[in-house]
Symmetry: C2
Subunit: 383 residues, 2 copies
């Protein structure tokens, strides 16, 4: 757990307060993505991505090594996951959109772990049936992102454990209670399923004997630090990570979006009208109290959630974004106008997503069972 | 862990010192098998067994309830296991012989769990390949006991985990680190695989929604106390246990036979000559120092391992056993003569065992995959 004084907390299960990303890099011991590294990504991907350009993906471990492995022909693979705790919101889908970009550009395999086991075991009140229903819904949203069906394997832990368990015993044997206590703040009252679970979050990094690259929000780092401690002794490679900042919740630029506060998030299922209402009503504004004041003093885009969302993802054109920023700061662009820009972008994105989601249903079997990679994985016993 | 003053320790992993079984019953909170219960077993089994008659199986939890379930037609099933840490000795096979008797008499299903995962994770130096090789050898010895191939399912955790994991998450969610710390003495340095493992030892008690009866040595009780704490909240029945004393090692009537001291045990693979040598040389004797003294003072069968082994298992005829005891106590029977009786019994048992073991190889697939029960189990996902 990284505690930032009294104001802020970042763990895999909690992000609250004003996040100081520079401090986080120091405390976690990760590296900044330098301008040189940015260029290298662009050169190898033969493309750029606004999430990199805008430094939303800002930190890493061994990303340079992963790129070198790609360049030399050794190859890499991608791994990400989803804990099916509830319906997915915008903050969940953006990293997946970026992961799809990485897969497209680097033409590599991708493993998506659905940690239904962890979500069931995490809270006393969580019911297995409900978690499964959520998992199935989430999988449709994930498939809608448009991954390569022959190079992507989506699996639920509860279903795929049989293929993973022998390797899981090797991973688990390398980690003791002190390790998970220190890393995750587990206590004596933590159930033994949760204590075992980090094994399974680490395990997909060993699905291939290539370097695994993990796109994730930086709060997931503790899991992967453990991986990096033990991987080589088990005959596998240390996983590389590319870490993002948190998409701010509507309520303000502190913490991250939470499923437990519906008004702080835009869900993938939110209707256009709902999106408009939420943004207009809840999106924290950097504007002034009256139009007159705003025209005179201008707005502050740095604390304005609508602007931050545009910057984070929804306005990938850097020039347009710059113009919006300047006009807002000068007072030319009003809060309502700024919010309207976001609402339109959001609704266009969500409409497209929902169309693809409708088609996703018939792709489930391909991604989970019969696609080239899925088929190979079901025939593999990891050891 | 039950510590008996400074002299003795009984845990699932260690039995040392002089075991006071009366005290153990009190400390563990199990019950004695009363003469009435003995009679009831005989009446329902329509047979008797010397291991019951001689009170080697001496204690229980809910055995009376299990027998009532059998009698009323609700039915019961049996569960036992084997941790494949090394070659099997006489102390391992006797409980299985008794289990076979129970299966024959009560015509019920039997599940035999091979905990290759636990044995691999228990010790740093244990290699997975070696544990598997041992497991395969052990399975031949188990099959040689003669279980009903259509009513018995033998499985390795490493192979069957896929079918167990959903239920395992429910079991694991009900147990926390404090529980396993208190029950097994786990520490912060215990690896997270071992911490999770009690889940899998408990799980087969929930393979059917009937009462499970577990024949075991009494040191296994901690596992099943945990089972009894959580079973009903998960919709299953509290398992019943029938507990045995420990077959004394050759070295004396303290502790139990250990695979790590080859001279303290008779292995199932020991040649007739080896058996004779070991018994003659190592079996702790209750006889006197010289023949003259022995004739005069007589021997003490209570501390004589050869006599104890005859009593425990190898002389099931109570009258013959009584005569041997009296003649030994009186000095009429010499130590060498007593040992010769045991050697003959042992070698006859082992010869028969080895013959059946040769035939066992072609039964492995039946017990593990294709037999009626095995087939059904592979088609079952436990939840």
């Amino acid at each position: 757990m990284v505690s930032m004084g009294a104001e802020s907390t970042v763990t895999p299960w909690e992000v609250s307060g004003k996040v100081d990303y520079e401090k986080l890099i120091k405390e976690f011991g990760t590296k900044k993505i330098t301008p040189e590294l940015k260029k290298k990504i662009g050169r190898l991907a033969k493309d750029s991505h606004s999430l990199i350009d805008q430094e939303i993906y800002f930190s890493h471990r061994d990303l340079d090594v992963a790129l070198a492995d790609f360049e030399s022909g050794k190859g890499i693979f991608l791994y990400t996951g989803r804990g099916p705790s509830g319906p997915m919101h915008i903050g969940h889908i953006i990293p997946l959109v970026f992961t799809k970009w990485l897969q497209d550009k680097f033409k590599c395999n991708l493993y998506i772990e659905i940690t239904d086991d962890e979500k069931f075991m995490l809270k006393k009140e969580n019911k297995m049936d409900e978690i499964r229903r959520i998992a199935d819904e989430n999988i449709l949203d994930i498939i809608a992102v448009g991954f390569d069906p022959e190079r992507t394997f989506i699996f639920k832990d509860s279903e795929y454990m049989g293929n993973m368990y022998p390797l899981a015993t090797r991973v688990a044997k390398s980690i003791n209670f002190s390790d998970v206590k220190a890393t995750f703040g587990f206590e004596n009252s933590t159930n033994i399923g949760m204590i075992f679970f980090p094994t399974l979050e680490i395990l997909p990094t060993m699905f291939e004997n290539k370097r695994c690259l993990i796109p994730a929000a930086i709060d997931q780092d503790p899991f992967f630090r453990l991986q990096r401690d033990i991987a080589e002794s088990l005959g596998y490679k240390k996983a590389a990570q590319i870490y993002s900042k948190f998409l701010p919740p509507l309520s303000g630029t502190d913490g991250k979006m939470s499923s437990s506060m519906p008004e702080s998030a835009i869900y993938l299922s939110d209707e256009p009208k709902t999106v408009k209402q939420k943004i207009m009503k809840y999106a924290f504004s950097g504007g002034q109290e009256s139009i007159e004041m705003h025209r005179k003093l201008g707005g502050n885009p740095d604390i304005d959630v609508a602007f931050q969302w545009l910057k984070y993802f929804f306005e990938p054109d850097a020039k347009k974004l710059k113009r919006i920023e300047e006009e807002y700061r000068s007072g030319k662009l009003l809060t309502g106008e700024l919010k309207t820009i976001l609402v339109e972008k959001l609704n266009a994105f969500l409409e497209e997503h929902r169309e693809r989601r409708t088609d996703a249903r018939e792709m489930v079997t391909t991604f989970m069972r019969t696609g080239a990679l899925a088929k190979k994985m079901w025939a593999t016993k990891h050891e």
